[in-house]
């Protein structure tokens, strides 16, 4: 596993894996979309139940991507490994996009179900908004410091601090009163959802996870290549 921390080995290992993930994501997305629009409408929520099939994957991937960013930041800080820093950087944009999608689709679901687009002070909504702000802060910090090594260290510290927010997002529905429903998938007594909705939801979550992995690996590979380009340019500038 640690052998993959070598950028050349990582590039060799992920070269055949990346197209497989892109293909898997495309197939799973098509199947999950089919499942999503062949599921019956819910007796209480009507057709808005179909928003769940994009909202839940977006929210869970927003959390998972931040987990990847935080753990990579830890390895980048402790072991100062450039691949870990590349992995953290590559997780930021997709994670921010997923979290923004969770907020937007949640709002579109909340209006017909709760009668409100947004509730200031709601623990789940606010903790997800804070997660989104951590992503924005991470990307802004990296972009605002010219020295890439300094930017990486500062951003890694922020990335680590943001990890504190993940359990707050997850357990906010248990710890505080909130409009948001409690967990219906990750529960001690198993999912509380009917199979007609569970199957499309899990398929869609697998599709989004495959897409995230494809985007993430492709972006890490690109980051390695980008650093080589910058290094060659710097070397030639010195030689000239």
């Amino acid at each position: 596993m640690f052998g993959l921390a070598n950028p050349d080995r990582f590039l060799r290992f992920t070269r055949p894996l990346t197209p497989v993930l892109w293909g898997l994501a495309a197939i799973l997305l098509a199947v999950a979309t089919w499942f999503s629009f062949t599921a019956p409408e819910d007796y209480q929520q009507g057709d808005t139940v179909r928003i769940m099939f994009v909202h839940v994957p977006a929210a869970s991937l927003g959390l998972m991507a931040y987990g990847a960013l935080g753990v990579s930041s830890f390895f980048a800080l402790v072991f100062r490994h450039p691949l870990a820093d590349a992995a953290a950087r590559a997780a930021a944009l997709p994670g921010a996009a997923f979290t923004a999608l969770a907020l937007v689709t949640g709002s579109l679901w909340g209006k017909p179900m709760w009668g409100a687009w947004w509730a200031w002070g709601d623990a789940r909504l606010m903790s997800v908004l804070i997660l989104f702000l951590f992503y924005l802060g991470y990307m802004a910090l990296r972009a605002s410091i010219d020295d890439e090594a300094k930017a990486a260290r500062a951003a890694a510290v922020l990335g680590l601090v943001g990890l504190i927010n993940l359990p707050i997002v997850k357990f906010s529905v248990d710890w505080w009163n909130t409009l948001h429903q409690p967990a219906s998938l990750l529960r001690a007594d198993g999912p509380s959802m009917s199979a007609v909705y569970l199957t499309p939801l899990l398929t869609m979550m697998a599709a989004w996870a495959a897409l995230f992995l494809a985007v993430w690996l492709t972006s890490i590979r690109t980051e390695i290549v980008r650093r080589r380009v910058l290094s060659i340019r710097a070397r030639r500038a010195l030689e000239a």
Binding site: L29, R50, V54, L101, T105, L211, T218, T222, V229, R236
Partner: protein, 63 residues
């Protein structure tokens, strides 16, 4: 049966799916375009010395 009639909730369901599709497509396109751009730049930089060497050897040893 494929059900595309969202009834009175169409104004909420379709924007949610539409914005999701757009964001996923944009993420995928950005990752692939950036990968191609930087790979092409690396190849160009790696080929540069070889091309320069080729030009020099032609000058040094004209046929």
């Amino acid at each position: 049966m494929f059900d595309l009639d969202m009834g009175r909730y169409a104004a909420f369901v379709w924007p949610a799916w539409g914005v999701s599709a757009m964001v996923l497509a944009a993420l995928a396109a950005r990752a692939v375009i950036a990968a191609r751009r930087w790979s092409a730049e690396l190849k160009r930089l790696e080929d540069e010395p070889r091309r320069a060497q080729g030009v020099r050897s032609t000058v040094a040893h004209p046929e």
